[in-house]
């Protein structure tokens, strides 16, 4: 990913928008992984 600061898009912009979608998705994946671990217990 090109994370360098540009005239229109800053690193903060990119962090915010990726965090906006990435954090809920990561939460859901972790919840599902914890559920899936029961298969191996």
């Amino acid at each position: 990913m090109n994370a360098q600061t540009t005239n229109g898009t800053t690193f903060l912009h990119l962090t915010l928008v990726w965090g906006f979608v990435g954090i809920p998705l990561a939460w859901g994946v972790i919840e599902t992984l914890l559920s899936a671990m029961k298969l191996f217990q």
Binding site: V17, F20, L25, L39
Partner: protein
Amino acid sequence: MSAESQFGGVFSRERIVAGPGFNRWMVPPAALCVHLCIGQAYAFSVFNLPMTRLLGITKSTPDDWKLTDLGWIFSIAIVFLGLSAAVCGRWVEEGGPRRAMLTSGLCWSGGFLIAALGVSLHNLWVIYFGYGVVGGIGLGLGYISPVSTLIKWFPDRPGMATGMAIMGFGGAAFIASPLSVWLMRQFSSPTHVGVAETFVVLGVVYFCFMMVGAAIVRLPAPGWQPAGYVAPAQSKKLITTNNVFVYEALKTPQFWLIWWVLCLNVTAGIGVLGQASAMSQEMFPGRITVVTAAGFVGLMSLFNMGGRFFWASVSDYIGRKNTYFVFFALGFIMYATVPYAGAAGSVGLFVLCFCIILSMYGGGFATVPAYLRDMFGTRYVGAIHGMLLTAWSAAGIFGPVLVNYIRQYNLDNGIPKAQAYNITMYLMAALLVVGFLCNLFVKAVHQRHHMRQDEDADVLATVE
């Protein structure tokens, strides 16, 4: 004035052309904002049991809805996903992604609000109309809205770009499922199940989330190319530099071959996805319980999501046609191995086979937009993709019917439960052979189907 202006200033296509400093990595999150919401459809089943006791609260009464009646809500939504994507594909393509995302958000959240009304009135037809029809239209528009935009921003890696968005659709259930359960718990009381309030909250939250996507999405300026990327001057063997008009694509054998490629790949996956829990428990009685089966389904869903990004990204390096060859060949081996895993009592091999199968099921969805772009060009790829999604609707019927009916036929003929799925697995493997052949016959689109330079210019003048 272009046609898209009818929807007003900030939502028009010309208002979202990116300036020189815009970073293209802002666009995948915009697409994910939409797909992470509409993918909730995969988690709708969490509402099924609570909706069977809306009147009885703790248990179903004779006037409560039956599970079989509630199953139609999801089915209607998927049918309208396919229909709206097919019918509105050109409208989406020509109006730009922001207008489509806005409309999708209005339909999707509106569907939830209407469904909440249906729950309050205890009228199932209102829910069929709300979530099924209105929400289903939101699903279709939202699913195809960012596809061509991403392909235009990432001409160097179109598979990876669309794979990222479509991964969001596969991963949305991971968020929606626990969130819905938590919300229902907050709103429930001794006299109330809390489904209607949960629908209202989800509708509002999803609308806000989708509007963030609509706000940040941008189109590249005409002629924009990523730094260091040189567009090929001439078509490669299976990657065209020309464009095919949306309805002209229907006249090509390539469209229908890819339609069958998608349909067969999805049929094989969707059939086992819906029955995975029951199948695992019946093939390994006593070793896989209800709780561990739920973990198995979760694991498969993770591979379904991860496969969307992984395989679509791989297709950028090995080509779309080769990627589907891998799906069909490896899928054949996996399906043929499942009965052996059952006979050998190997849970690990069984789980491994299905995780790989589900990764390729998701990969099939995620790779197909780039396959269409290679065949038909970028101009109408979103609209053509919309029409291709009817293959999904068809597979949604074929897959579960094949698995369920063959299992029942075997049980009726005295075959033990542990072996009742063997014939189905071999049949799925056979379907993949047919898919392999369809993929084999895909060649470059004949030049008589290509848009002429002056037609291209006319469309550009209208659209851009």
